[in-house]
């Protein structure tokens, strides 16, 4: 569907070579594409780079792009010399959809080389942004598999690994309704770590008690902010200190929230249900 629309946009561009597009449409296209990249977990430097190249491809005069971790601003001069600027703020934290990042990145390169009709191309960008992710059951399966594989990788036996798998599966299902009402990732991490600790705590009273640390670690890997850490590193390396440091703080807060949730639960359980 998106491919078909892109072909139509490209056809429109080839049929209408002499007509220059409206600056406002080109700027809007850049804004939405950049926003799509930002809200799905792309590095800030990639957002700025992609939007800048799109605006340059449409020959916008004095085009400027500025992005921080949750805000994107684009500006340029219209054909009549009037300044135009748009800003878009991302509410909350970005999601982690690397497929959308990939598709939008690919589209950005095609826009840069083929300069299709910006109005038609904007529809494709919005389609990509609104596209559904994997069904929940696949997500739940992947979360469980990650706990299973990590438990074994860390050196656990098969039974504790399966216990960690089950705990992760139950946790992700219990978190599902919570996520619908509270999207804050710090809150989600605290609730998730409390659930995992509660579900794995009973293993301390079995013959697999020695593996409880490995099981907890394996189950907590899901909460590790990997995308934020890597994006932060890449932004810092690219010289974008404001975005890099903001993401680094996000990494620290997310990691601390897991520690708080699990630590508080461990301390509580240790008091009410001490190991003999």
């Amino acid at each position: 569907m998106a491919e078909e629309e892109l072909e139509i946009a490209l056809y429109a561009a080839s049929e209408n070579v002499s007509t220059s597009y409206k600056s406002i449409d080109c700027l809007n296209l850049g804004l939405w594409l950049g926003f799509g990249l930002m809200s799905n977990g792309a590095e800030t430097i990639r957002v700025e780079d992609s939007v800048t190249r799109i605006l340059s491809a449409y020959d916008l005069v004095n085009a400027e792009v500025f992005a921080v971790s949750n805000y994107l601003h684009v500006s340029a001069l219209s054909s009549s010399g009037e300044p135009i600027s748009f800003g878009k703020r991302m509410r909350g934290s970005s999601s982690n959809n690397l497929d959308k990042v990939d598709r939008l990145n690919d589209l950005a390169r095609r826009i840069t080389s083929e300069t299709p009709d910006p109005v038609l191309t904007l529809n494709i960008v919005k389609q990509i942004i609104d596209a559904p992710g994997y069904p929940f059951i696949i997500h739940a399966f992947a979360v469980s598999l990650s706990a299973f594989a990590f438990a074994l990788l860390l050196g656990s036996d098969l039974v504790p690994a399966l216990w960690a798998t089950t705990a992760s599966f139950i946790m992700i299902n219990l978190l599902r309704p919570v996520r619908k009402h509270y999207a804050n990732p710090i809150f989600i991490n605290i609730i998730g770590s409390v659930l995992i600790t509660l579900l794995i705590w009973p293993v301390r009273y079995t013959i697999y008690s020695a593996d409880s640390l490995l099981m907890m670690t394996a189950s907590f890997m899901y909460f590790f902010p990997g995308i934020a850490l890597i994006n932060s590193t890449r932004d810092l390396m690219a010289g974008d200190y404001s975005a890099g440091l903001a993401k680094m703080i996000e990494v620290l807060l997310l990691a601390a929230s897991v520690a708080v949730g699990s630590g508080a639960t461990l301390a509580f359980l240790g008091r009410i249900w001490p190991i003999a």
Binding site: S113, A142, L153, G226, M237
Partner: protein, 151 residues
Amino acid sequence: MEILQSTIFALLASFAFMTIFEVRGKALLIGSIGGAISQLSYMLLQLLIDVHFLVPYFFATIILTLYSEIMARVFKKPATVYLIGALFPLVPGRGIYQSMVYFVEGQQGAFFVEIQETLAITGTLAMGIMLVSVIFRNFRLRSYFKEEEQI
């Protein structure tokens, strides 16, 4: 045997994380192989070279980042698509959790030793990514668009 087992588990773990991050198609397989490569190179380096514990982490990250950047150029996808899931086997999850346990139990000495080691590993991973990314970064993004512009 242990190395082979760990490599398979790392491949599975990377596959799971890439699925969580919504990676699809061929990239899912290529990224998972990256996870296996990072674990294999880490274990081999640990086995073959008797050096500081951070050195295998550093070189394994360099090998993984190189792999991700090369795959990104070959398949015209962002390197992060391959890098993020594949890096997870090297992440010191155990250290992070163990530090927290020591902290809760009030074992200050053990906490500082553990957290110091964990932060050193995390910093080493970041340095490895930085080193390779800085070489590839400008060259990759510029050449991508230059190539397209020339068509």
